[in-house]
């Protein structure tokens, strides 16, 4: 498939909302998925696999209980909770590394680390178990593939960004992942009724004039 990044963002946002996340998280999931695709990573597939886990039905179980020390939850951490939190608390990196465990779909943290890098005005290093990535906000150094789950994630300052990935202007999700996102997005659409068809858009007048 060959999609614009705007299509990716719009569908990712709707899909995330359709999967039960808040509108604010859905907005950020849309931008995050777009950012990953712009880096040539499989943003749509990563998001689709996360949404399939159904974490939004039990959000308190998948977000940190406290900000002191290592971030952890009763269940696996959701990147759509810890990612925004990481962006919101970027200043904590002044005091040292942020650590969390375990995180599913950890690649979705990268766009939020990029927000933190912009706020900190420096490159940040992120370690998923044995995999490493570096971002300075706009650019990313990383491998092509990421684990579905990282037992331990560490984000810290003091990185140097070499060999950034080439930016992409289009996204190429697999049809399966794209369908999965659209099925989640479909939950946000109201079933058509004859009444809404006639009244909801305010037409009903002839356009043959």
């Amino acid at each position: 498939m060959n999609l614009s990044l705007n299509e990716i963002e719009a569908t990712a946002k709707r899909a995330t909302r359709g999967a039960g996340y808040s509108w604010g998280q859905a907005e950020e999931a849309g931008k995050a998925t777009r950012w990953l695709c712009a880096q040539g990573l499989d943003g749509a597939g990563i998001l689709a696999r996360l949404l399939a886990l159904g974490f939004a039905t039990d959000p308190a179980n998948h977000r940190p209980q406290q900000l002191d020390g290592r971030w952890r939850a009763e269940g696996d951490l959701c990147p759509l909770s810890v990612g925004p939190l990481l962006s919101d608390t970027a200043r904590l990196l002044d005091a040292g590394a942020i650590e969390m465990q375990p995180v599913v779909a950890p690649a979705l943290l990268l766009p939020f680390v990029s927000n933190a890098a912009r706020i900190q005005k420096c490159a940040l290093q992120i370690e998923f178990d044995s995999v490493q990535a570096v971002t300075d906000g706009a650019r990313l150094y990383s491998p092509d593939d990421f684990p579905d789950k990282a037992q331990r994630v560490t984000i810290k300052k003091g990185a140097k960004l070499d060999m950034p990935r080439e930016h992409q202007s289009r996204a190429h999700p697999t049809p399966t992942d794209w369908d999965a996102l659209n099925q989640f997005a479909h939950h946000t659409y109201a079933p058509a009724t004859e009444e809404s068809r006639l009244l909801g858009a305010g037409a009903g007048l002839s356009d043959n004039d």
């Binding site: 705007n6 925004p84 706020i119 946000t188 109201a190 079933p191 009444e195 068809r197 037409a203 043959n208």
Partner: protein
């Protein structure tokens, strides 16, 4: 004397400007996107050509119009269709149109045209690619189309009064840009000088569409009338604009793009503040204003609507025009700060229609104070989206108070205050608005009631210590994340938030549509219901072969012909 952009007069308060009834009274001005485009094309001496016009006797076929700028070319690829009347609908749920278009980035090859011919006529059901910048379609005004074809075919010129009453031969029913249906993202063109300002791609597409429609009607008249067909008089053709028929999709747009919408409104307010700060007006400036005041009244005299709301607003505007005439016979703009005096007077003497008409018109004599602001109308600050988690609860509460203080006392459970809900229908994803308490739509509600959501967040925040941080709050309350973001955006985008209830039983979505369309440069707003509006674009504008620096800007103000 060189003018300085000194503003002793402040911008108008967002609490005044951003009320729905005022937004629904906005008029075009010299910052409008259509006028920015025509000024640029004339200044840069763009050239235009029609490399393809392959339309058969039934009016079916393909045409290409190319606009060549200093560095790049853009081409409208147009497909003309033979549409049965029962298929003619302006709504999103339509699946066939009189004509369909794509704006191609560059000059298309035959293979490009072949590819587009298989997709563009399908609109939403087709796919375009990164070489296309917009996708659009148009339907005929049946009565004016028939009148013009029949007149020309019988060797006559069409009746000008009928042209003025309708304003256009075709109206676009959607112009999709920015990556929709596979087209190029905005980022592809955002750094080009000619497309840096908002909606320049879409405005160019519509400008070229107007030329295509003129050529198509001439072609059909020639088919029908043969040798006796008349050639459409350029002085008649100029009054043919392009219509646009717009439903609810535009209303979510201005709510969902608060920084962008802020930039449009704030730039116009800054322009107004600059002009109001002018100490004395020169004779030339006064004469320019007087001339355009006269010319604009001719355009307003052609403005027709049958909708009761607009009928009343037009009566108000016409009464306001008479009051302005009287004011100008006594004041003559010779006193210090003449424009500020005029605006202050308008706030006491005119309806919002008249006040906003004047707020746009006084900008006209001041190209040097106003036009440079156009470069500030795009949204290039993606960082505004990122929440500042270090902000204290105390401060974010103050921000909500600042923007939504008017709403904090409303009972948001009262049916009249939340009677409506905005949703997206699964039927071609048409944006709609319905009755919350009468239809099964609440579960599908879109976040288009920022004031209600702000009040909910404000209430939740009251349980927290003032010194705690937004980050801690949002960790526990992700449901308020979009609202906290908007509250923080408003620090630098004070005109980004509508200061009114967008889900009340009295909300008129057409107010939101008009606000957006006024920045395009639209005229003759004609609501078809409380949530649907038709407008006219480019009526009076020079066609590509006529475009010069002399006529590129003020075409929106018609000159009476002798």
């Amino acid at each position: 004397m060189e003018k300085q952009a000194q503003t002793q007069i402040e911008r108008r308060n967002p609490a005044t400007v951003m009320r729905l009834s005022r937004l629904g009274s906005f008029h075009q001005c010299r910052l409008s996107f259509m006028r920015q485009l025509t000024r640029r094309m004339a200044r840069e001496d763009w050239s235009f050509s029609r490399p393809v016009f392959d339309i058969d006797d039934a009016g079916v076929g393909t045409a290409v119009y190319t606009a060549q700028g200093p560095e790049r070319a853009y081409s409208l690829v147009a497909f003309a269709h033979d549409l049965p009347p029962e298929k003619r609908s302006d709504r999103v749920i339509a699946d066939a149109w009189d004509a369909t278009f794509a704006l191609f980035d560059g000059i298309p090859t035959e293979a490009d045209i072949e590819r587009l011919s298989k997709n563009v006529p399908l609109q939403e059901a087709g796919r375009v690619s990164e070489t296309e910048l917009s996708l659009s379609r148009a339907n005929r005004s049946v009565r004016l189309w028939n009148h013009v074809v029949d007149s020309l075919a019988s060797g006559q010129q069409p009746d000008l009064s009928q042209i003025h009453q309708v304003g256009y031969l075709m109206r676009t029913t959607a112009v999709y840009g920015s990556g929709k249906f596979g087209a190029a993202d905005r980022e592809k063109v955002a750094d080009r000088p000619e497309t840096q300002a908002p909606f320049q791609v879409e405005m160019l597409s519509v400008y070229l569409t107007r030329t295509f429609v003129r050529d198509l009607v001439q072609h059909m008249a020639a088919v029908k009338g043969g040798d006796q067909a008349a050639k459409l008089d350029p002085d008649v053709a100029r009054w043919l604009g392009i219509g646009n028929s717009t439903g609810l999709g535009m209303a979510p747009f201005i709510v969902n793009h608060p920084v962008l919408f802020n930039n449009w409104v704030m730039v116009r307010e800054e322009a107004l503040a600059r002009v109001r700060s002018v100490e004395t007006a020169s004779t030339a400036e006064i004469n320019k204003f007087q001339e355009l005041f006269q010319r604009s009244q001719l355009s307003i005299s052609w403005w027709r609507s049958e909708h009761p709301i607009q009928v009343k607003k037009l009566a108000d505007l016409n009464a306001d025009l008479r009051a302005i005439s009287e004011y100008l016979t006594t004041d003559r703009l010779a006193n210090p700060h003449p424009w500020d005096r005029l605006i202050r007077w308008s706030e006491t003497a005119l309806t919002e229609e008249g006040q906003e008409y004047l707020a746009s018109l006084v900008l006209e004599p001041y190209e040097d104070l106003v036009d440079g602001l156009a470069s500030c109308m795009a949204d290039s600050r993606s960082e505004a989206f990122v929440i500042d988690g270090t902000m204290s609860i105390r401060n974010v509460r103050a921000l909500i108070q600042e923007t939504h203080g008017w709403a904090l006392g409303l009972d948001w459970t009262a049916p009249e205050n939340c009677a409506r809900a905005w949703y997206v229908s699964e039927e071609k994803l048409e944006p709609r608005m319905g009755e919350r308490f009468e239809e099964p739509i609440e579960n599908y509600e879109q976040p288009l009631a920022p004031a209600r959501d702000a009040c909910a967040a404000y209430s939740a925040l009251s349980d927290w210590e003032g010194a705690q941080t937004v980050a801690e709050f949002l960790l526990r309350h992700p449901e308020h994340r979009h609202t906290i973001r908007r509250a923080q955006v408003a620090r630098t985008a004070p005109y980004g938030e509508i200061r009114d209830n967008t889900i009340s039983d009295k909300v008129l979505p057409i107010d939101m549509l008009r606000a957006k369309l006024s920045f395009f440069g639209a005229t003759h707003f004609d609501p078809r219901s409380d949530r649907w509006v038709r407008i006219c674009m480019y009526a009076g504008a020079p066609y590509p072969e006529e475009l010069t620096s002399e006529n590129a800007d003020l075409w929106v103000y018609p000159q009476a012909t002798a």
